[in-house]
């Protein structure tokens, strides 16, 4: 993966997000306290927020270039966005939620449905009502929905927040294997050093909108 984020500037409430990094690791962690600008960074990459300035490229596909006033529409970025809040479509069944990003695509463009379902161990949830799911089940469906859309990049925004320790361990195990299984690079936002060490090859530490250091998570966060 080659993700270039150049001259990114976005005014937030308390400070400005100012990022200039090139990322090459398949599993990169964005680590920092709450309110450091981590979520805003993901939203800019996904195209959900417009920065004041930025040039963002993923594997030579231009996402954003404010100098040229160019912004690739969100739907064409093929980003698997996994937010921290429950964002399953409440009016659709679990199955319809999972298939939302698949509709209209050919079989060759997407991961096999059964493969994703068995990997995430969610076969028993397919016929359940979305509103009857527990937080952990909910989060696995969100991950499955993003995977099934065959994204170029997964953006995970503290996906394990508010889960109990046992559930966290189960999903953490799946996330660890996810890259090997599907080959999709990911940016993983967290404020938990253990999660970052478990999942990421490289970590950026963000404070008040700036990258203050980057490197191996075991060395930086221990």
């Amino acid at each position: 993966m080659k993700l270039e984020i150049q001259r990114l500037s976005l005014r937030l409430q308390q400070f400005s997000l100012d990022i200039d990094v090139n990322l090459h690791s398949a599993r990169t962690g964005i680590f920092g306290r709450s309110g450091a600008g981590k979520t805003s960074l993901l939203e800019v990459i996904a195209g959900l927020r417009r920065p004041e300035t930025a040039r963002i490229c993923l594997n030579d596909l231009l996402f954003e270039n404010t100098v040229q006033k160019y912004s690739l529409p969100v739907r064409l970025r093929k980003i698997g966005y996994i937010p921290q809040d429950d964002l399953l479509f409440p009016h659709l069944s679990v199955r319809r939620n999972l298939l939302y990003g698949v509709d209209g695509k050919s079989k060759h463009e997407t991961f096999p449905f059964d493969h994703v379902i068995s990997f995430l161990e969610i076969a028993s949830l397919l016929d359940r009502d979305v509103r009857s799911l527990s937080r952990g089940e909910n989060q696995r469906i969100v991950i499955g929905r993003a995977l099934l859309s065959s994204p170029r990049l997964l953006l995970m925004d503290e996906p394990l927040t508010a889960l109990d320790a046992k559930l966290k361990e189960t999903i953490l195990r799946q996330l660890r294997l996810l890259h090997h299984e599907f080959g999709i690079p990911m940016l993983y936002v967290t404020h938990d050093p253990l999660e970052a060490m478990e999942i990421c090859e490289e970590v950026l530490i963000i404070e008040a909108g700036r990258v203050i250091s980057r490197g191996n998570p075991s060395e930086l966060l221990r």
Binding site: G47, L48, V74, L87, H91, G104, K105, A146, S149
Partner: protein, 225 residues
């Protein structure tokens, strides 16, 4: 005590024109409510004011405006009569137009609130999954706003059933052609036909009760989906 055939005819006519007027304004109501709920644009305040106008104008004044607009001497009325052979004033079409105009603000307000209550993050997630604007609107925004839309349909229908002032000016009260429940109740009271007035009153209550009951049922079903 049982309603006469003439009274049943009036009830049927009222229900039909009110259903038609609600059906006609529904797509327009959604088309107006969506940008009002979601975007800032020049002229938004003007559109908001124009949409609300029938709610605050005396209904008779609105009726007079419609009479001017659709009379054969106006551009629109002339065009409809000459080129399409459609006569509006003092016909059932005028009843539909009056009901539509008077109930439009209530529909827009309710649908707008429905759209405002949709979590926009869900729409954003749908876009990240590859959905374009039209698909997001049809598969996420519209179904999630369905409670507001259902409530708006009910309010508009109920307002249409109760419409009097604008209708009597633009459609008159022509027995068998433009007489609605409200107009007939007024007429029977004027003539001192109390028994008929009370029968129509009971029918009005049943229609209103049925509309509210149906709407509650639909809202509950949409919540359960």
């Amino acid at each position: 005590m049982w309603p006469t055939p003439a009274e049943w005819q009036i009830v049927g006519f009222t229900l039909a024109v009110c259903a038609l007027s609600t059906l006609v304004i529904l797509p327009f109501g959604i088309a107006v409510a969506w940008p009002l709920a979601r975007y800032r644009w020049p002229g938004k305040l003007l559109v908001e004011t124009l949409v609300t106008l029938p709610l605050v104008l005396p209904p008779v004044a609105t009726g007079l405006l419609l009479l001017k607009l659709f009379s054969r001497r106006s551009g629109l009325g002339h065009f409809l009569h000459e080129y399409l052979g459609i006569e509006v004033v003092f016909t059932w079409r005028a009843v539909v137009v009056a009901a539509a105009v008077m109930s439009f603000p209530l529909l827009v307000r309710s649908v707008r609130i429905g759209f405002q209550n949709v979590n926009q993050r869900l729409e954003q997630v749908a876009r990240t999954l590859g959905a374009g604007d039209a698909r997001v609107f049809l598969t996420i925004s519209l179904p999630l706003a369905s409670r507001g839309i259902i409530a708006g349909i009910l309010l508009a229908f109920a307002r249409a059933v109760g419409e009097f002032g604008a209708t009597i000016v633009v459609a008159g009260n022509i027995p068998g052609r433009t007489t609605t429940l409200s107009l007939e109740i007024f007429e029977t009271v004027q003539l001192g036909h109390d028994a008929s007035a009370y029968r129509l009153l009971i029918l009005s209550v049943i229609i209103a009760f049925g509309a509210v009951w149906l709407s509650e049922l639909l809202i509950k079903r949409s919540a359960l989906r």
